[in-house]
Structure formats: structure tokens, C-alpha cells
């Protein structure tokens, strides 16, 4: 069984956790200004990274708090966990993401329609 390090509780068995998908997706401040394509991209388009990916995790059967984790989607190794609200860390020579340091794919609206 994998051990996952909750930032609040320390290392705990993986069955206590739940993955909430890609992290650092900024919600639009005014959703009514988005057109259908932008809205669809926000809801459904994800980077689906092969390699290190930032994900949201919840310590569901523990402290029940959300946090972020860097997980290698090839090896399933969780490289680091960090608090909600903290910027995504880049570790071990990993290539930096987009200029914002968060999104590794075009932001909603920047994708060709």
C-alpha cells in the first residue's frame, strides 16, 4: 500500500485519500462572460500529463482537508505534497510550466476554436 503524506497528518495509507484531478485551474471570476467553447475547455479539457503532474487530493478518511500533490503519472510516485494556495513547486530539473507557473496547457480561450 502506498503512503501519502498529508500536509496536516503526515504519512497515511492511500485508501484514506481521494484524488480530485488536476490542480491550479483558475476559476473565472465572471463565468457569465465565457462562451460555450471557453466553458467547455474549463470544465472538460485537462493536461493529462505523462510525467509529473500537480493534482488536488483530499484526505477524505482523515482530516478531510484538500491539498496538492506532485505525482508522476508514469511511476505513480508522489514526489511532494503541499498546502492549498501554495504555488506549484518545480523539482529535480523538471521543466517549468507555462509563464504563470501553473498551467501546462493553453488557458481557456487561448486554444484555437
Amino acid at each position: 500500500m502506498l503512503l501519502i503524506k498529508c500536509p496536516h497528518c503526515g504519512e497515511r495509507p492511500e485508501i484514506e485519500f481521494h484524488c480530485g484531478g488536476e490542480a491550479h485551474i483558475a476559476r473565472p471570476l465572471d463565468p457569465s462572460q465565457l462562451d460555450d467553447v471557453q466553458w467547455a475547455e474549463l470544465l472538460f479539457y485537462r493536461a493529462n500529463t505523462k510525467g509529473v503532474m500537480a493534482e488536488r487530493w483530499n484526505h477524505l478518511h482523515g482530516c478531510q482537508r484538500w491539498f496538492n500533490a506532485l505525482r508522476n503519472t508514469v511511476s505513480d510516485k508522489i514526489l511532494r505534497t503541499y498546502m492549498m494556495g501554495e504555488p506549484r513547486p518545480y523539482i529535480g530539473g523538471e521543466a517549468q510550466g507555462a509563464a504563470t507557473g501553473t498551467l501546462s496547457y493553453p488557458a481557456p480561450g487561448e486554444r484555437s476554436k
Binding site: 496536516h8 497528518c9 497515511r12 495509507p13 485508501i15 484514506e16 478518511h61 482523515g62 482530516c63 478531510q64
Partner: protein, 207 residues
């Protein structure tokens, strides 16, 4: 309340369970259902909680995943388990008729500090395990390291036991023996008790 039509009756979770006190062949783990208790779910900011002292005798000053147990003062029999950065489970081993008074006491002591306080007395029940094999029995369904270093007296956390979510508390030892209190939802009560009892028998049969 007397004006309301009775639509349901609260029954003891263990009604018609005939082997509740069946002697196990494992002498090193005694399993018993704890007496009914009052329980409150408290959510409040961690900094505010640290400043709140001991509302109604409940000590909120502990670190995450630990338990404070007041035994020797007026607030005897009160447990406070800090389950997360801003969440506590408060347990008072007192009569059910004291719920309103205790709630009022907590509310008065917390004063203007923003918080939510919910009476969850009847949501949970507790099963107690004691004896040298208690941790082994718990580990048949719970993957946590329950060794004395990883899970010493004064530890409390939400976790899993088989298919049930539980809150596991390591209370003060009874003599030399460890005492674990397992809080679970009452609808899981029979499942938890039967599972623990069966595990104790299996482990006892192996020794």
C-alpha cells in the same frame, strides 16, 4: 415535543444481538460497547481555538490528531479529539439529559468567536478494546501503524476500519494495558462489533 406525532422509535443498535458479551477465546483483547455519551462536532479557526482555553471543560489546545482526556477534575470523562486543523470531536460521558446544558455551556464559553457546534450524540457509538492484543485486533481492519511510537496514548484520528470510517482514540492505559476507543456511525455498529469480535477470536485461536 409532546405535540408531535411519534413516527419512529430509536432502538438500541445492538437489540436482539445475542452474542454481545460472548466470551472470546482471546483473553488478551476484551471488546465492549461503551456507555452512551454526548458528542459534539466543533468547527472553528485554529487560532481562535487556541485562545478559547477550555470551553465547558473541553481542552482544545492539542495538536492535530491528538486527544485530550480530562479525568481528575470537574470535567471528568470529557474527551476532545482534534481531527483536523479546524475540527474537533467532543465527547462527554454523561447522561443524555445533559445535552442542552452542555451545548449552552459550550456556546457561552465560546462567546462571539465564529464556530459551528453540532450535537452528533446519536450519530455515533463507541466500542472499546483493551488488552495486549487490542492493537493486533484493530490491525485486522485498520492499516495504521498502531505501535507505541507511532500511535501513543493521546492519539486520535479519523481513519478506516475495513468498510467503515471510524475515529480511533488511544486513551489512557488501564493499568498496564492499552485502551482504544473506536467511534463509528451507529449504522456501522453491528458490523464493527461483529468484525472485531471475529478478529479477536481468530487471533486468539492462533496464539
Amino acid at each position: 415535543m409532546s405535540d408531535h406525532e411519534m413516527i419512529a422509535e430509536r432502538r438500541d443498535v445492538f437489540h436482539a444481538v445475542d452474542n454481545l458479551t460472548k466470551p472470546s477465546n482471546n483473553e488478551s483483547c476484551a471488546i465492549s460497547v461503551a456507555a452512551p455519551a454526548l458528542r459534539f462536532g466543533l468547527r472553528m479557526d485554529a487560532t481562535a481555538a487556541a485562545a478559547a482555553g477550555k470551553p465547558a471543560g473541553f481542552d482544545l489546545s492539542q495538536s492535530i490528531n491528538s486527544l485530550r482526556q480530562s479525568v481528575a477534575d470537574a470535567a471528568s470523562g470529557r474527551l476532545s479529539a482534534r481531527l483536523g486543523p479546524d475540527e474537533w470531536l467532543l465527547i462527554a460521558e454523561t447522561g443524555a439529559d445533559a445535552a442542552e446544558a452542555l451545548m449552552a455551556g459550550l456556546t457561552a464559553d465560546l462567546g462571539d468567536v465564529a464556530h459551528t457546534l453540532v450535537d452528533v450524540s446519536h450519530r455515533n457509538l463507541a466500542i472499546e478494546l483493551t488488552g495486549s492484543a487490542a492493537a493486533d485486533v484493530l490491525n485486522t481492519g485498520c492499516p495504521l501503524d498502531l505501535g507505541d511510537q507511532a500511535f501513543p496514548v493521546g492519539t486520535a484520528t479519523r481513519t478506516l476500519f475495513a468498510k467503515a470510517e471510524i475515529i480511533l482514540c488511544r486513551c489512557e492505559n488501564v493499568g498496564q494495558q492499552p485502551l482504544y476507543r473506536v467511534e463509528c456511525w451507529r449504522s456501522f455498529g453491528r458490523y464493527m462489533h461483529a468484525y472485531l469480535q471475529e478478529s479477536a477470536e481468530l487471533i486468539g485461536a492462533r496464539v
